[in-house]
Amino acid sequence: MSEAISTGGALERQARRPRAAEWNVLMALVGITAIFEVLGWILYGQSFVWNAQRLYIIILQVSIVGIIAVGVTQVILTGGIDLSSGSIVGATAMIAMSFAQAGMRNGQDFTQAVFWAEGWVDLPVIVPLVVALACGLLAGVVNGALIAYTKIPPFIATLGMMVSARGVANWWTKGQPVSNPTEAYTFFGNGLRGFMPVVTFLVLAALFQLALTYTKYGKHTYAIGSNAEAARISGINVERHLVLVYAIAGVLAAIAAVVVTSKNLTAQASMGVMYELDAIAMAVIGGISLSGGRGSIIGTVLGALIFGVIISGFTFLKIDAFYQQMIKGVIIVGAVILDQARQRKRGRG
């Protein structure tokens, strides 16, 4: 210790590094699972966890909204919010599916195809895929550009997109559902023995977790959410970065649309309603701070799993679906209250 710099204990003392938020989320996940396990043995004499089929369903049922949550998490990390992802799913589902239709059904010409008269059926699977990604990209870029360059609050910009994109979904086929996709298109939702949605979710989550941790993109995302002014002064092009983040969120919503239409073999204009709120809830339960700058995709994945465990657990205990929804709301609010209490404690420490 050179005495020129040492000015006493006060400076060397440093607040103890707080436990990572993800750790608490994991504990909550384990705790909730344990509660269902115990109740399962008491009430029905069977295990909740020791059931491969159930474990598969737990993650499968959250993987489509989970894909959206990966994008929403990044938006929230910048201090923003995205209310439009559910509607982007709806619009993208309708548009992409109309390019994914097969020309034949049960050996007969499929005359209900959207582009049947034009003969746009049985297109290579890359066409609906590219169309979907383009839809998501366009919606995301519009969101990001509105927020970055007109300076309107993200809540308002994405609320506008939420309403308009739902309008697009309804307008595309005047409310008619679009069905009968090509064999190749069904892979995205049913491939790999039905594991495709789960794999897509986990691969995308891992990809963006790495991007947030190890790339310039991630550093700047956290920096903007942490202190946008500091980021600007430090030479980060905040506007361009916001457009990029919202564009990524849009593309991820589009990927979710492909997976869900492929899995259900149909697209409806009402697809994705409430997805945006479920995705936000997963992020919040996963410890992402709504004021930006704090949290990770790992947290969101754990938050999604808590969602899945609760839904499966309630079904397992044969509790009515109405109660599921009520409890879900309580858990969302509870997670934020707990997180804030933790922040306050940390602030004092």
């Binding site: 006060a10 440093q14 790339t215």
Partner: protein, 254 residues
């Protein structure tokens, strides 16, 4: 004249009808530490904001490194070698020390545009090095700034400026919010900069600190430079009379 780092000629700034800065002629020599003092609203921060291009000046010239400059924004000023420690710190609270030091100028291992992969190890190593050169003690640089004391945060901000400022550092009230020990540490860092010959403009309300640290004291009053005094040729009372307008009659003719 070649050893003049920064010079302003007739620098003025109006906010609408308010003349916040009037005809400021100022020069800073290589290695010199100058304090800017004055009452609230005397034009100190306004003066600095013109130099760092946070605001656009109304009239006058700024010469930096021997040539006239017209920075478009703070980033250009920074790229030219002027680092500023802002009153509000300008740190990203949720990031750790290396991320803050290298914010906007990250070391890249593999260039993939916005998704360029960071060389985190190199940034950490150089951060530890920069902190040592500046004399800042942070036990764990990978901790988020949020978890640090006000003094440590200020030290990080100063270390960042010191690590990159090749030509000039400007500090706006660096110890205003700090305790006694933390202030002492910041002052030690400033002395270290003096030894390394890095020129400094220090805005401060603390006359004891000013007399301790700098070579020359420039007094602002009502938007004008009321006096420029060598530390050894003045004292606290003298400075106070310029700050309050007892001395420096040029003001009366304004």
């Amino acid at each position: 004249m070649t050893d003049i780092v920064l010079e302003t000629r007739g620098l003025s700034k109006n906010y609408g009808g308010v003349h916040a800065l009037i005809d400021a002629n100022f020069a800073l020599r290589q290695g010199e530490h100058v304090a800017i003092v004055g009452d609230n609203g005397a034009g100190k921060s306004t003066f600095v904001r013109q130099i760092t291009a946070v605001e656009k000046h109304t009239a006058g010239e700024i010469h930096f490194g021997g040539r006239a400059v017209e920075f478009a924004d703070p980033l250009e000023a920074r790229e030219a070698g002027i680092e500023t420690v802002f009153q509000n710190l300008a740190l990203a609270d949720d990031l750790d020390v290396p991320s803050n030091l290298y914010l906007g100028r990250e070391i890249i291992r593999l260039n993939l545009g916005p998704f360029s992969i960071l060389d985190r190890r190199a940034m950490r190593a150089r951060t530890v090095e920069a902190l040592r050169t500046t004399g800042v003690k942070i036990p764990d640089v990978t901790n988020a700034i949020r978890n640090m004391s006000g003094g440590q945060r200020q030290c990080v901000a100063i270390a960042r400026a010191a690590a990159f400022a090749s030509k000039l550092i400007i500090m706006d009230e660096p110890t205003a919010a700090l305790g006694v020990q933390e202030t002492a540490q910041v002052e030690n860092i400033i002395r270290g900069l003096k030894e390394r010959g890095v020129p400094l403009i220090l805005i401060s309300h603390n006359l004891r600190q000013v007399f301790d640290l700098v070579d020359r004291i420039v007094v602002f009053r009502r938007g004008r430079i009321a006096a420029s005094l060598n530390r050894d040729e003045t004292d606290g009372n003298d400075i106070v009379s310029y700050i309050t307008g007892v001395k420096g009659q040029s003001d009366a003719f304004a």
